[in-house]
Symmetry: C2
Subunit: 406 residues, 2 copies
């Protein structure tokens, strides 16, 4: 699946193992075939690279590769592209432990993640969320000045495909506060950037230099229990409504693969003078990435959101500059996520909460009719998909809801 996301122009990085390569190490992918970089090195593919680069291919996370100089990462990409230049058929002579089909590969969380910040970059999402919760379309006070965000849990970040257990918590039921499994389980369609090279505590990263610190991007589903979140988040933000699980896609798509899809971010509010550290001389610092979410239930599969990354008010470069302007240090493997990516139309709302006010999202009943769905049910599979353009995509990030602990 998604073979057309992984052409020679993509060259993603992840962590995998297979029957013939039982150790979890760094992998890449061409169409539906996964390649183990440590074995390609053995086969002489990476003679041009430094030893310290090749060493990172044998590790159980992509972190040390992501921390390398961009020039070494680029040389790796080019060496892999040279290997792939004559197509998959030409690669059958490689040793059998050096590749496996995607169906026969097990993929793992590709990163050791030290910190995870979830920002709120979509103007449409925050307006829709404000309407859903407060019945008025209001931006948070800081929204047009800087990317508003919160620190999120890292221990419960899981790889796509991991089942998501319905969390328990406290929430309002009319005037009463009750405890039980969430009744308002939601997904959030997001993208996160993976930090490559970090910065020292006390230093800041200029917005113009931010790309030097971004290794690549992943899809991220910020599962949310809206009722638990609603009671707890005033005034310190969400905690138990979010911390039960966050899913990311297995493949990290590099900035180099995404470069042809650079795009302009929406115009900023001209009445607000943005602080100097967020004034980016590169006007095309966003990316055009088609994003979608679907729900597969027992009776039907429905695409419930189609949107694009380039609708986001703040760019990934802005996130890096803002997060470090106070001297906060980023480490390799940290995630900075965009928050829900929503567009202006009802078809482009990146979470269910935004649809709740209008009675839910339209799905098929499985009997040729349609009905409205408010929240995720046990057994639902949510699948996020991202594709930048021909041959370059993220594949998917999926998770199935399972019943709460009894």
């Amino acid at each position: 699946m998604y073979a057309d996301h992984f052409s020679i122009d993509n060259i993603p990085f992840g962590i995998g193992s297979s029957e013939f390569h039982s150790r979890e190490t760094v992998v890449t992918r061409l169409e539906d075939t996964v390649f183990f970089l440590d074995e390609l090195a053995e086969a002489g593919v990476f003679k041009i690279l430094k030893d310290e680069t090749v060493k990172t291919f044998s590790e159980p996370t992509v972190n040390n590769f992501a921390a390398l100089q961009k020039s070494e990462q680029l040389a790796t990409r080019k060496a892999i592209q040279a290997l792939f230049a004559n197509g998959l058929e030409s690669l059958r002579s490689l040793p059998p432990q050096s590749y496996s089909s995607i169906a026969e590969t097990r993929l793992y969380l590709p990163l050791a993640i030290g910190d995870f910040t979830d920002f709120s970059c979509s103007r449409d999402h925050v307006l829709n969320a404000s309407e859903a919760v407060f019945k008025k379309r209001e931006l948070p006070p800081g929204f047009e000045y800087f990317p508003v965000g919160y620190t999120a849990r890292t221990s419960s970040i899981v790889i796509s495909g991991t089942k998501i257990k319905r969390p328990k918590g406290q929430y309002r039921d009319g005037e009463k506060v009750v405890f039980g499994p969430t009744r308002r389980l939601d997904y959030e369609l997001e993208v996160a950037c993976v930090i490559g090279k970090g910065n020292k505590l006390g230093d800041s990263i200029r917005v113009e230099d931010a790309d030097e610190h971004i290794f690549g991007l992943v899809l991220l589903n910020d599962w949310s229990a809206r009722d638990i979140q609603g009671l707890e988040m005033n005034p310190l933000g969400p905690l138990n409504g979010k911390s039960f699980s966050t899913s990311i896609s297995p493949w990290i798509i590099t900035l180099e693969a995404l470069a042809p899809f650079k795009a302009q971010a929406p115009k900023k509010n001209p009445d607000i003078e943005v602080a100097s550290y967020l004034q980016d001389s590169d006007s095309r610092s966003s990316y055009s990435i088609d994003l979608s979410a679907s729900i597969e239930s027992k009776v039907s599969t429905d695409t419930i959101c189609t949107t694009n990354f380039d609708t986001l008010y703040w760019t990934l470069r802005d996130l890096v500059a803002h997060q470090t302007v106070n001297g906060c240090n980023l480490n390799t493997g940290d995630l900075l996520a965009t928050g829900t990516v929503s567009g202006t139309t009802a078809e482009s709302h990146g979470c269910l909460m935004e649809m709740a006010a209008s009675g839910g999202v339209q799905v098929s009943s499985g009997k040729g009719e349609s009905l409205k769905k408010m929240w995720l049910e046990d057994g639902d599979i949510v699948r996020l998909v991202g594709k930048a353009g021909p041959g370059v995509g993220f594949g998917d990030c999926k998770g199935e809801i399972v019943a709460a602990q009894s």
Copy 2:
């Protein structure tokens, strides 16, 4: 200093090095002398312990020791106490690399910290904060139902003594939003528990079992830039107003050392029925720990807060139960902090914000007069001290404010 905090009844754990023991490994302390556990093992002190326990003494963090069964940790404590039983003079025969004076020991961040949650356990603090910000004494909606908290940054957690650079950020100046060094730099007097044994994603820890998962406690200063925090925290909570630095004390004080100082937490609001997972059969599940904060400026040193841990509405056991009730997994080394520990009187306010409405905190001018201080200035040293009782204390957690990056 603080020799009387570290009697034979304490036996704290930390990470240190010295001239004769250059590797950073696990240390304990008796009065003003620090002992390297790996060298004590070489000297035959820990023959009773399992090999895997002794191995943890050579590591650069306390994590693996903290993850052991409590029985092994207790056996370690008892073996150290047996060694110390005849006083410091009796220990001069130990090899010179096995100990050093506290003045000649370098101490390090004792933990690899995966996640850090900062809760808000003090009723007085939230009422005072509400008054300072909103001019009304109101509890957050969830406060009496569960410990409200937020996920905080781990990358910028530093060891006591590390200088704290004044952060830059955006904040309101009248009607305008401006960017610059914070004008409202504050400290927060807190205590955090260190997670020993973790739990699996999807599982919960019962409040009655929480002590099995708490290795010990540290002092924590949650440095806060109130102006930056004020603009950003609606609705997702604090980010850049906090993430620039958090200090912790070097010594982890175990629950065993604190056991004699167990105390009753304040009575809960009888009108609120607390959820079952927060009903603790142990009514003495808090601790009596005297806490203080002082500011040393160029002209004077003033104690600006004296309070006690036992004033907190929610206990550390409550924090563990609440954080995991949604299936969130805790890992060894995670920190769960109490939030600012304030009492009912003006002398027991654990941060400057609570004093701002009344014109600031009273300090000496250095010329026999007193004046009011609103916020921290460059050069100020904030020192937190915690002492549970005779022979058992935390020492201090200090930090000096240095000027913002030009």
